[in-house]
């Protein structure tokens, strides 16, 4: 049997390192684009201040990028180090987008980033602008391939189980690329990155305005950020991730859990705005419901039902029973292959009928190694397992949405007062923008909690349980690695925040051009 501790610790480690990595990714995605926009304005208008803007925000970009790269390495190692069975079982599909990400995107971004910083005096204006756009393009392409890989974990299309090689194998790469879940996720995630970059620039620019320094620099940065940010937050909200939740069975379970919808309601279902979901009693206490809203969000229609959790558990149980048959046939096939060198056609035909549910059979491995001998009680337990933890999803989703709408408000007002050219006088809004800086990070992290906790109990939805995906390592080794990550990541975060605050406070004076606030006061 697989050590439960190792499973929990592996998940904890992945959660820590992934969430930590994603502190840096959205800012890279957004800021690279903002820098490219600012530099484009510079090249078009020839105004030096836009070059300074590109360079200064580039300095902050670099501080952030360094940690993005550092923590990204961990992610690539970790599938192999801690999720070896996963890597073997789905590497045939999951590995390809990662390899292509490296060749097509990360190479471009990383090669051009050096030229972005050190090529100012060595390249013509236009060539340098091209380099900046290539950095932005590279980072966004990276996101595309990573989210194609992640989208496949959520909704595994274009692949089939092969009992001879004992793994999932690719049947259609086009289906994997054009997976609706992946496409929606990509747009939602990069747009969230653009929002993060925008709020970052907006908040720091607001700080300069509050300090009444470098106003020309601050208002222009603020203007670019508010325009780009507003467009981005609108696409984040309108093209919300949940529109992908209708694709694939596991996504439906996630949706029901987010909404804590225990019973299937008549269409259009109500949206539970607030409440305390209780998984034990399968009931949401103190629920406040808004009629119709959820049905419309989830199905984009007034007539389609959204299945409730209790019904989904029943469906899950049915799948598990079919999965047991599938597992039995699979064992039979392996045996025939081993003993007779080939399989019997009847066994194969029978397996084809049930193999879709093999993954549900594997859920029972948590309780019994042989699967086929599972007791009624074990089947019931496994059926309950098909539902992810409801309360964390319910709350994470609401925190994400609330942050999103707060950001929308800040950006709408910022854009309005920028357009009326009175932003410098709106001190309350400038304070608001400054304190809004953490919001996109909260929203992004909560978004990933929804996406990945909501995928449980699977690593690959309906195909491979999380429980089976781990490497055969010991809990002691996991404690060592988790401790290592915590120590390194804490120290690095402190250092990063220190430098970020230092340079953000210093502002464009850190460029040493002699044109900005702190250089005018002191003789240099």
């Amino acid at each position: 049997m697989i050590d439960e501790n190792v499973v929990d610790l592996s998940r904890l480690q992945f959660a820590i390192t992934a969430m930590y990595h994603f502190l840096f990714v959205p800012l890279t995605l957004g800021l690279s684009f903002l820098m490219a926009i600012m530099e484009s304005v510079y090249v078009m208008t020839n105004k030096q201040i836009y070059r300074d803007m590109t360079m200064f925000w580039g300095k902050l970009f670099a501080i952030n990028f360094a940690l993005g790269v550092t923590t990204g390495l961990t992610m690539e190692f970790q599938f192999g180090t801690n999720w070896a069975y996963y890597s073997h079982y789905v590497g045939d599909i999951f590995g390809a987008p990662l390899a292509i990400e490296g060749m097509m995107a990360f190479f471009l971004e990383s090669t051009m980033i050096g030229l972005f910083f050190f090529g100012w005096d060595r390249l013509s204006k236009r060539k340098h602008l091209m380099v900046t756009w290539l950095v932005a393009f590279g980072s966004n392409m990276s996101a595309l391939w990573i989210l194609i890989a992640n989208g496949w974990m959520q909704n595994p299309v274009g692949a089939e189980f092969n009992y001879e090689t004992m793994r999932m194998e690719l049947t259609s790469f086009a289906e994997v690329i054009f997976n609706p879940v992946a496409q929606v996720k990509f747009v939602h995630t990069v747009a969230a990155g653009y929002v993060t970059g925008s709020i970052f620039v907006l908040g720091i620019s607001a700080y300069y305005m509050l300090q009444k320094r470098d106003l020309a620099f601050a208002t222009r940065s603020f203007a670019v950020a508010s325009g780009f940010g507003l467009a981005s937050i609108l696409s984040v909200i309108l093209l919300g991730d949940e529109s992908g939740y209708t694709a694939g069975e596991v996504q439906k379970v996630k949706l029901a859990a987010i909404e804590a919808e225990w019973e299937t309601e008549e269409a259009p279902a109500a949206f539970t705005a607030f409440g305390f979901p209780n998984q034990e009693t399968q009931h949401t206490d103190y629920a406040i419901k808004i009629p119709y809203v959820m049905g419309i969000i989830a199905t984009r229609s007034l007539h389609e039902e959204v299945l409730g959790i209790k019904d989904l558990i029943k469906i899950g149980e049915q799948h598990i029973r079919e999965g047991m048959i599938a597992y039995g046939l699979f064992k039979q096939l392996r045996k025939e292959l081993k003993e007779e060198g080939k399989v019997r056609e009847e066994t194969k035909a029978e397996f084809e009928k049930y193999k879709k549910y093999l993954g549900y059979g594997l859920l029972l491995k948590k309780y019994t190694v042989n699967v086929v001998d599972a007791t009624e009680e074990q089947i019931k337990k496994a059926a309950l397992d098909t539902i992810p933890p409801v309360a964390p999803l319910f709350w994470a989703f609401r925190i994400m949405v609330a942050s999103g709408f707060l950001i929308l408000l800040v950006l709408l007002l910022s854009f309005y007062f920028t357009a009326t050219r009175t932003i410098v006088n709106q001190r309350w809004l400038l304070w608001g923008a400054l304190f809004a800086i953490p919001l996109p990070w909260i929203a992004c992290e909560m978004g990933w909690v929804v996406a990945e906790v909501g995928r449980q109990p699977w690593t690959i939805g309906g195909i491979l349980p999380t429980h089976l995906s781990v490497s055969t390592r010991t809990a002691g080794e996991l404690y060592f690695s988790i401790a290592g990550f915590i120590v390194f990541y804490t120290v690095l975060l402190v250092v990063e925040m220190y430098l970020m605050f230092k340079y953000a406070r210093l502002g464009p004076s850190s460029l040493h051009t002699g044109r900005y606030h702190f250089e005018k006061e002191t003789v240099k």
Partner: protein, 380 residues
Amino acid sequence: MIFDYETLKLITWLLVGVLLIGFALMDGFDMGIGALLPFLGKTDEERRVIINSIGATWEGNQVWFVTAAGAIFAAWPIVYAVSFSGFYLALLLTLFALFFRPVGFDYRSKLKDPRWRSTWDWGLFVGGFVPALIFGIAFGNLLQGVPFHFDDELRAFYTGSFLALLNPFALLAGVVSLSMLVMHGAVYLQIRTTDVIHERCKKAVKLFGVIFIVSFAIAGVWIAYGIDGFKVISMPALDALPNPLAKTVEIAPGAWMSNYETYSWSMLLPALAFVGAIIAIFWSMFNAPVLAFIASSMSIVGVIMTVGMAMFPFVMPSSTNPSHSLIVWDSASSYLTLTIIFWASVIFIPIIIFYTSWVYSVLRGKITVEHIRDNEHTSY
């Protein structure tokens, strides 16, 4: 598709080789220079010269490593799974060491405090030294076989310990890779610097070039006479669906030499490693570091191909259950996935080489102490 499955499996092996060579050639000199940093740079400014000789380009070089790992994941999922989980602690140490590089380069010169700067200098040292050593140790262990086996559902069990990885032959292999990359790094640094650092580089090339040549020679003799190789006794057809449990393998003395006996031209590979290093030392001494760089690159190509040739078709032999060893023919992904990886590589690797060359040509030239002083606030 123009290739059958069997050919594609072989091409995949070559492709992984190309990516590993790309990694060793490109990121190799960054690691070598990292390992040399505290010794070749005595003052803060000298250290900044060294750091800035690779600062603008190391990031792209590291992607060879990321891509090689990604390609192994995609093309040989089971190799990726078994090696990364098997070498758990060793890989985590490598990872932690690699952490120092992105932050070290970028953060080091952002504050003036000498303790801050010296801390990051040693961080960059660790980020170069440790991975260069551990990659060699890993190959040293691959050559001896690694203790793992599978159950019927292909779950891998690794039964070795971390300390067992640090056996004498593996440590020697670590010395080979470390000295090879440090030599390569010193040659590159010689191209990019002048005066006192330039001179120190020449000494480093000589010292580590000799260490490399000697350790590589000892390792060669050790492989030929001291270490048992692996030999496939029977296996399914080469184009069969990959199943690592279907063959039989035995451990045999001198088996790693059998490819060299069959294909005698392949003895040119280790010869290339030696000759390249000797020529690199020679050109470095005579102030022709660009030629020396080409020679040390050839030497690295020779080393990696020597190991590949010795082990072929083995990728990851198992010492505890030899028949469960992973070989080129039974570790590969499906035909479709290999096809995709093939086309992605054919399209993108030339493009990568093209724009990387462009970036290097834009950023070419010597880095001097004056250069650092003139660019006090924009240099690393």
